[in-house]
């Protein structure tokens, strides 16, 4: 047998040994499982990054966010609006250097369509401490049907580099549980 540095002579297209053949078959079967899990989760799983995707003019997205804030505003903290949309509403969250607007107040177990976009550069939506991450791209509207599954006071960390103050870009999401005591409400 030759090493990897030597030229094989003659015809090298020969049947593999049994161990190699079986390993290739096992590996291929595993690859099929890896592949099948993704479409399967679209049907059976509850976490998918499909969403409603479309292009949007950054200015138009900013106006939609303003209208959304005006319609459902319930308070203010540090000069930023707190917004409590009704169940099933289209919710707008705008990323800009270096803030997430507005503060959202959502209800546990209720579905919303969360629209993410940016008016300037790429940002990263990272819900902390849940660890739910999506890319926020200027000019694109990512509409994700989300359902909070736990009450609490959450943060939105920006996890895509967006300039010198990237690390200070933090937003807030409050999830209240109607069934329980109103903990977590500001």
């Amino acid at each position: 047998m030759n090493s990897g540095l030597q030229s094989p002579r003659g015809i090298w297209w020969k049947p593999a040994g049994k161990a190699e053949r079986v390993w290739v078959q096992i590996a291929f079967a595993w690859c099929i499982v890896l592949f099948a899990m993704m479409p399967l989760w679209h049907f059976k799983g509850s976490q998918n990054p499909a969403g409603i995707r479309g292009k949007v003019d950054p200015g138009a997205f900013a106006r939609r966010t303003e209208e959304f804030v005006a319609a459902y505003r319930v308070g203010e903290e540090n000069g930023m609006a707190i917004v409590e949309p009704p169940a099933g509403a289209d919710v707008y969250l705008l990323g800009r250097m270096w803030s997430w607007e507005p503060i959202l107040r959502l209800r546990k177990g209720v579905q919303y369509t969360l629209h993410l976009s940016s008016v300037d550069v790429n940002h990263g939506f990272s819900l902390s401490p849940v660890n739910l991450n999506f890319q926020v791209v200027p000019g694109y509207d990512y509409g994700l049907r989300i359902t909070p599954t736990a009450a609490g006071d959450f943060r939105i960390v920006c996890n895509e580099f967006c300039g010198i103050n990237h690390h200070a870009m933090v937003g807030r999401v409050i999830v209240i549980d109607d069934a329980a005591a109103p903990r977590g409400a500001p």
Partner: protein, 573 residues
Amino acid sequence: MTAVAPASFRTCPTTGLRVHSQADLLIKAHAVAATVSLLVGGIAAVLVLLTRWQLIHLLPADWFYRVLTVHGMSMLIFFIIFFEMAVLYFAGPVVLNCRVPAPWLAWIAFALMAGGALLVEWMMWAGRADVLFTSYPPLRADPLFYLGIILFAVGALVATGQFFAALVVAKRERTYEGSVPLVTFGAATAAIIAVITLLHGAAVYIPTFLWSLGLMNMDPEVYRLIWWGLGHSSQQINVAAMVSIWYLLGALTIGSVVLNEKISRTAFVLYVLFISMASAHHLLVDPGFSPAWKVWNTSYAMYLAVLASMVHGFTVPAGMEAGMRLRGYTKGLFEWLRRAPWGDPGFSALVFSVIIFGFLGGITGVTFGTEQINIIAHNTFRIPGHFHATVVGGTALAFMGVTYYVIPLIFRKQVAFWPLARIQPYLFAAGMALFSSAMMFAGTFGVPRRHYDISFADAPFDVQLSPAVDVIIGAMAVGGLLASVGGAIYIVVTVWSVFLGKRLPVPATAATLARGYGIPGGVLNPPKPLPPGDVDHRGLSKGTIVLVAVFLVAFIAYYFVNWKLLSAVWRVG
């Protein structure tokens, strides 16, 4: 055909290969440029590490992002690609015993790469390109930054052309018999992937250069798609080059054999066909692409490139095992491994590279690159944790291991500080394994990558990460510093050996080496040749079967644990 100028050749006393003097010089030049890039990127690495370690938090924010940009470009583009061009000059002209087809063009290519790299370094250090490695528009750098990358890419493309030309020259001038060796075949797939990658680089950076001059528009999502055709595919050049080096180091250190040329070569072809689809790994939670597109592309069609890596993950250790067994190490399952030359840094680097790449880098990469699981991985520390395992623990470590052979075989020098060189792969592998594992673990708590301050001191709202994160980051820092020591030893050993060290004595024996110097066992006592012809395969890979079974179980466990983690987060769709 014009007459070929008489080229000067020497015959390598270890391998018996005829080496063209121009190939010698080109390999040296590229290796030196790679080492300088590694030094710059390594200094940046330590600065980044000491800043992300919140206990020290060394740099101010602007310098953190600047130095992080330097780290990414110097390591992932300049170090890796300079080294890969050296590998191509070795796997082409040297292994095939032929001349460098057009040395003048090869040197122009080198000058373009070096000039481009210098321009980019200047822009970054001057603070005119604080855009990180990915430089996503609309973040804007100085146009010269993009121009520098274009020059580097064009140079690399021309150098790759020299490799393809060498294949033609060697065939026509009959400098080898039979088929090209497996190492050259693997390098050829790396070269093909390099062409694909560099064309993506041109497709994205030429418009970006024009955009930075205000001459055209740039869609941020289209940029991300094409840029990752460069950014991820360039890591696939590394994979193909690294696997070729695995076969090379196996052959040099212990006389590994190729159990079946068809299997190994088909696996390399799968890389060429499918691995470039991995641009999608970075776009799984992006708004611009449909689920069907994501599923198809992220899985390289149907995980056919993963299949290729799993095949090499068997054939490389099995080839080592068979090589050892055929030379008499036949006891039990693992005598071939126990009695292997663990004091040869080429061998230890090979083994650790395979293990770290497979267990830490490969398994996690496939898992994070799953469309839905990416929701709990994208842009967290899990991602750099993964690719430090593949590119640093895997590729860079393999490159380090082969360097200990390049020093005597190409530079004709003894390896300086030999006792340090022998432990270098151990330090580096242990450090990188701890570093990347801790980084990935921190990422499961949502620690963001590319972030200056996870204490969020300047943020409008406090952020409470798990208290475990501080401890895990501490472990990451220890691992990173350990690996940095290993990296520093590598640089000191190579630079000293090449520029200040002692020439290789002829003949090179243990008695003729200078005090404190050494050369790897594979050069000192090359593995004894095996008789030609086929042998019975039965029982030659018993130990490897156990090893790959362990790997498969770890893979399955990690993969499904992540689905479990995913199922616990908010419902989203």
